[in-house]
C-alpha cells in the first residue's frame, strides 16, 4: 500500500490531521484554566457556594480535556523529528530553544501543579490550592507565548543567520522571539481561546437554562460567558484586522490568497465576498464582490493600488481555495459571535437574560463555534504560508524526513484510527458531564463517584467546610 504515493504529501496530511486534533484541546484549556482561576478567586473572595460548585463542575471537564491535550501534544513535539527531520536539522538551533523554554517554563508548571489542582484541595487547603490553579492557568498562557513565538518566527523570520551547514542560527534572540508577526498572533490566539471557552461555557449554561430558568449555576456561568463574548468579540475583530494588516506587510501572498486576488488592481481592489477560486485558471469564478472595498480595508483608501498573485512566481503560490474559504468561515463566525454578544447585551438590558429561549438557543448553537473558528483561522494562516515552512527561506518539500511513502502512509492510518477512537470517546465523556447541570455540593474529580466518597479525612473536610 502507498507505493507510488508522494511521501511529503502524506507527511503533510499527517501533520495537518494530528495538529487539527491537538489545537482544539489547548484552545479550550487555555481559556478554561483562566476561567477556573477566576471561579476559585470569586469563591475565596465571596464564599458563595455557587462558585465552588461551578469550579468543581468545570474542573472535571478540564481534567478530561487537558489529558487529551497532553497526549496529542507529545505527538506534535516528536513529529518534528520523525516526519520533518530536515526542518528539525535546519531550524533546530532557533526553534528548538524556544520549544525547550516552553517545556521548562510552561509544561512542567502545568503538570507539576495539575495534580494538586485536581486532587489536592483537602490536602493543601483552599489558599494553596488556589495557587496551584493559578500556576496551571499561568502555565497555559506561557505555553501559548513560546509556541506562538516559534510559529510566528517560521512565518516572519527575523534575527537569524545561516551557518556553513545550512542551519538557521540565532543572530539576535530578542528579534527571533519578538519577530514581527508574534505580538499580533499571540493576542489573536489567546483572545480566540478565551472566546472559544466562553462560547462553550455559555452554550452549556444556555442548554440547562432552556430546561430550567431558575438554576443558580447555569445562570451564573451563562451571564459570565456572555459578558466575555460581548466584551472580547469586538476586541478580537479589531485584533484580527491588525493581524491581517501585519500579514499584508510581511506575507502579502497569503493576503492575496485570503482575498482571492489573482490579479493586481491599479485603482482600488474589490472585496470578493464569495466565489470559487480556480487556482489553475487564476481567477475567482462566480464572484460576488464589492468594488474598491478591499483597498479600503487593507490600505484605508478606496483607490489604493493592490498587488495580486500575478506579481508572485506561480511556484510560490499558496493553495488559494483553502485559504480563501477557511478565512471566510473564520470571519463569518467572528461576526456571529459578535451578534450573540450584542443580543445578550440587549436581553440583559431588558432584564430577559435568563428568560429568552431565543438567546439560549442561539448560544447553544454557537457552543462549538469557537473551535471551528480556531481551526479555520489556523488553516488560513498555515495554508496561506505555503509552500514554505520557514517563510520565503525553506520550502515544505525540502523539510521532510527521508522516509518511504509506505512508512508515512501506515502511520497516518494508525493516527486516524487511534485519534478517532480515543478522542471521540473523550468528547462523549465531556458531553456527558456537560449534560448534567452543576448540582449544589458539586464534587470535583476527587470524589465524584460514590464508591470513592469515603476517603476524606475529617479534619481536611472540616477545613474546606470552614472555608465556605
Amino acid at each position: 500500500m502507498f507505493e507510488g504515493w508522494d511521501a511529503v504529501v502524506l507527511a503533510r496530511a499527517q501533520f495537518a490531521f494530528t495538529m487539527s486534533f491537538h489545537i482544539v484541546f489547548p484552545a479550550f484549556s487555555i481559556g478554561l484554566a483562566s476561567y477556573l482561576a477566576v471561579l476559585e478567586a470569586l469563591w475565596l473572595a465571596t464564599k458563595r457556594e455557587v462558585y465552588i460548585n461551578l469550579f468543581n463542575y468545570w474542573l472535571k471537564i478540564f481534567a478530561v480535556a487537558f489529558g487529551m491535550g497532553v497526549v496529542s501534544g507529545i505527538v506534535m513535539s516528536y513529529q518534528f523529528g520523525t516526519n520533518w527531520s530536515s526542518f528539525a536539522d535546519k531550524t533546530g538551533p532557533v526553534i528548538g530553544p524556544m520549544m525547550a523554554y516552553e517545556v521548562l517554563t510552561a509544561f512542567f508548571l502545568e503538570a507539576g501543579f495539575l495534580g494538586v489542582m485536581l486532587f489536592g484541595l483537602e490536602r493543601v487547603g483552599p489558599r494553596l490550592h488556589f495557587v496551584a490553579t493559578l500556576m496551571v492557568a499561568i502555565g497555559t498562557l506561557i505555553s501559548a507565548f513560546w509556541i506562538l513565538s516559534a510559529n510566528s518566527w517560521m512565518q516572519t523570520p527575523t534575527g537569524y543567520a545561516v551557518n556553513a551547514d545550512g542551519q538557521f542560527v540565532a543572530a539576535d534572540w530578542l528579534k527571533v522571539i519578538f519577530n514581527p508577526s508574534f505580538p499580533y498572533r499571540l493576542v489573536h490566539m489567546v483572545l480566540a481561546a478565551y472566546l472559544t471557552t466562553s462560547l462553550v461555557v455559555g452554550g452549556v449554561g444556555a442548554w440547562h437554562l432552556l430546561r430550567d430558568q431558575h438554576l443558580a449555576g447555569p445562570r451564573v456561568m451563562f451571564s459570565m460567558a456572555m459578558w466575555m463574548a460581548t466584551l472580547v468579540a469586538p476586541i478580537q475583530i479589531l485584533a484580527g484586522d491588525q493581524h491581517g494588516l501585519n500579514t499584508l506587510e510581511h506575507q502579502p501572498a497569503k493576503v492575496m490568497a485570503m482575498e482571492g486576488h489573482f490579479q493586481s488592481h491599479k485603482d482600488g481592489a474589490p472585496l470578493i465576498l464569495f466565489g470559487w477560486p480556480d487556482q489553475r485558471e487564476a481567477k475567482v469564478k462566480y464572484a460576488i464582490e464589492v468594488p474598491k472595498l478591499s483597498s479600503l480595508i487593507l490600505k484605508h483608501s478606496l483607490d489604493a493600488p493592490l498587488a495580486g498573485l500575478d506579481t508572485v512566481p506561480r511556484e510560490n503560490w499558496p493553495p488559494v481555495p483553502i485559504t480563501f474559504w477557511a478565512f471566510r468561515i473564520m470571519v463569518g463566525l467572528g461576526f456571529l459571535i459578535l451578534g450573540l454578544g450584542l443580543l445578550s447585551l440587549l436581553m440583559r438590558w431588558r432584564g430577559m437574560m435568563y428568560q429568552s429561549p431565543l438567546l439560549h438557543r442561539f448560544a447553544v448553537l454557537m457552543g462549538p463555534a469557537g473551535f471551528i473558528a480556531v481551526l479555520a483561522g489556523w488553516i488560513t494562516t498555515e495554508t496561506g504560508r505555503q509552500p514554505f515552512t520557514v517563510y520565503g527561506l525553506l520550502r515544505t518539500t525540502d523539510s521532510a524526513s527521508p522516509l518511504a511513502a509506505p512508512a508515512v502512509g501506515s502511520s497516518l492510518i494508525a493516527f486516524i484510527i487511534v485519534y478517532f477512537a480515543v478522542f471521540t470517546a473523550g468528547v462523549i465523556y465531556i458531553l456527558r458531564l456537560m449534560a448534567q447541570p452543576p448540582h449544589p455540593g458539586e464534587q470535583g474529580p476527587t470524589k465524584d463517584l460514590p464508591a470513592r466518597a469515603a476517603g476524606i479525612t475529617p479534619a481536611a473536610g472540616a477545613a474546606v467546610e470552614g472555608a465556605r
Binding site: A63, V64, G67, G73, I74, S77, Y78, F80, G81, T82, N83, S85, S86, A88, D89, K90, G92, P93, V94, I95, G96, P97, M99, A100, V103, L104, T105, F107, F108, L109, A111, G112, F113, L114, G115, V116, L118, F119, G120, D165, Q167, V169, A170, W173, S401, P402, L403, S411, A414, V422, A425, Y429, L433, P445, T446, D448, L449, R452, A454, G455
Partner: protein
C-alpha cells in the same frame, strides 16, 4: 578516555539527565500499566491508578524535555535518529495516547471500564517495548549519509533491539512493583513483594544478556569496556551492580517498604551509566559525535541560562507535589 568540559559535553549530560529522570519516573508509571493484567480486581486497580494519578503528567513531561532539548542542543542527532526510529517512535506515541487518556477516561464510565484498563495496560506495554527497542536500535548503529538517515524503515528490528525491548519491559515492571511495595499495604503489597522477587531475577538476567551482547555489536564497545586502562574505570560498574543487588535482596528479606524502590532506581542508574560509557562521545553511535551534532554555542548558552535556573525550580515543586501526595494509598481513599 578523558572528558573535556565544553558546551556540547555539558548539554550531553543535561539531555542524559532529562532522559534518565524520564526513564525512572515514567518508568514506574509504565511499569504499573505492564503489571495491570496481574491485578484483575477492580479495587486493586483503583488503588494502583491512584498512586500515580496526581504525578504521571509531570513524569511524562521529562520525555518532552528530552526530545525538545535534543532538537535544540543536538538538532543533527535528532534529525537522524527520529526517522531511523520511525516505527518504534510512532508506536510509543500511540501507546502513550492510550495510556494517558486512560487515567481520566476509566473514571468516566462504569460499564466500559475494562476497555480503558486494557488501554492503560496495552498502551504502557507498547510504549515501553518501543522505548527499549529504540534504545537497542541506537546502540547497534544507524546508517547515516551526509546529514540524513539513509536506512530503511525496518532497520531497527533485530534480535538485539528485541532483547533491549524485553529488558526494558522487565525493568519498568520491577520499578512498578517496588513502587507498589512503597505506596500500598495489605494483600496488594504482599503480591507486589512477590512480584519484585521474580522481576529482580529477570532484571539481572536481562542486564547480563544486554551486557554480554553489546560488545559483539561493535569493536568500539569491546575496547571501551575491556581495553587497558579503561577497565579501571569500567570495572566498578558491574561490581556496583552486584553490591546494589545484595542490598536489594537484604531489603526484600527485611520487608523494608521504601528501600527496594530506591535500590531499583540505583540499578537503573548503573545500567544507564553503562550505556553512557558505551556511547560516549557519540550521540549516534559510531557516526555522529556530540560535537558534530551540537547547536551553535549561542543556542546552547541561551538554553543553559534557562536550564540552570528552571530545572532546580522544577525539581523543587515536583518534590512538593510528591510530598503532598505522600504515604500509602488505601482502597477508597484515592484522589479520584
Amino acid at each position: 578516555m578523558s572528558i573535556p568540559i565544553d558546551l556540547p559535553t555539558i548539554w550531553a549530560f543535561i539531555i542524559a539527565f532529562a532522559v534518565f529522570v524520564y526513564v525512572v519516573m515514567d518508568g514506574f508509571d509504565l511499569g504499573l500499566g505492564i503489571l495491570f493484567p496481574l491485578f484483575p480486581q477492580k479495587a486493586d486497580r483503583d488503588v494502583i491508578m491512584n498512586t500515580v494519578a496526581p504525578v504521571w503528567d509531570g513524569n511524562e513531561t521529562w520525555l518532552v524535555l528530552g526530545g525538545g532539548g535534543m532538537m535544540a542542543a543536538f538538532p543533527l542527532a535528532y534529525a537522524v535518529l527520529m526517522p531511523a526510529l520511525y516505527t518504534p517512535m510512532i508506536a510509543m506515541l500511540l501507546g502513550l495516547v492510550f495510556r494517558g487518556v486512560a487515567f481520566e477516561f476509566r473514571w468516566r464510565t462504569q460499564k466500559a471500564r475494562n476497555k480503558w484498563d486494557l488501554a492503560f495496560a496495552g498502551g504502557s506495554l507498547v510504549a515501553t517495548l518501543a522505548q527499549g527497542i529504540a534504545l537497542g536500535a541506537i546502540l547497534q548503529g544507524i546508517h547515516v549519509e551526509g546529514r540524513h538517515y539513509a536506512g530503511g524503515w525496518w532497520d531497527w528490528l533485530t534480535a538485539f533491539s528485541v532483547l533491549t525491548g524485553i529488558a526494558l519491559v522487565i525493568g519498568y515492571a520491577l520499578l512498578g512493583a517496588t513502587w507498589l511495595v512503597m505506596k500500598t499495604e495489605g494483600e496488594l503489597r504482599e503480591r507486589a513483594y512477590h512480584l519484585t522477587w521474580v522481576l529482580l531475577v529477570a532484571m539481572l538476567c536481562a542486564i547480563g544478556a544486554v551486557s554480554i551482547a553489546t560488545p559483539f555489536l561493535a569493536v568500539q564497545y569491546t575496547q571501551r569496556w575491556f581495553a587497558w586502562p579503561n577497565i579501571i574505570l569500567t570495572a566498578p560498574v558491574p561490581i556496583a551492580v552486584a553490591a546494589v543487588t545484595a542490598l536489594l535482596l537484604r531489603a526484600l528479606g527485611n520487608k523494608n517498604d521504601h528501600q527496594p524502590f530506591f535500590l531499583t532506581l540505583a540499578l537503573f542508574g548503573l545500567s544507564y551509566a553503562g550505556l553512557g560509557i558505551s556511547m560516549y562521545p557519540y550521540i549516534v553511535p559510531q557516526s555522529i559525535t556530540i560535537w558534530q551534532a551540537a547547536s551553535p554555542a549561542n543556542s546552547q548558552i541561551f538554553m543553559l541560562f534557562g536550564v540552570s535556573i528552571l530545572v532546580p525550580l522544577i525539581l523543587g515543586y515536583t518534590a512538593w507535589a510528591y510530598w503532598v501526595f505522600r504515604g500509602k494509598v488505601r482502597p477508597g481513599h484515592g484522589y479520584h
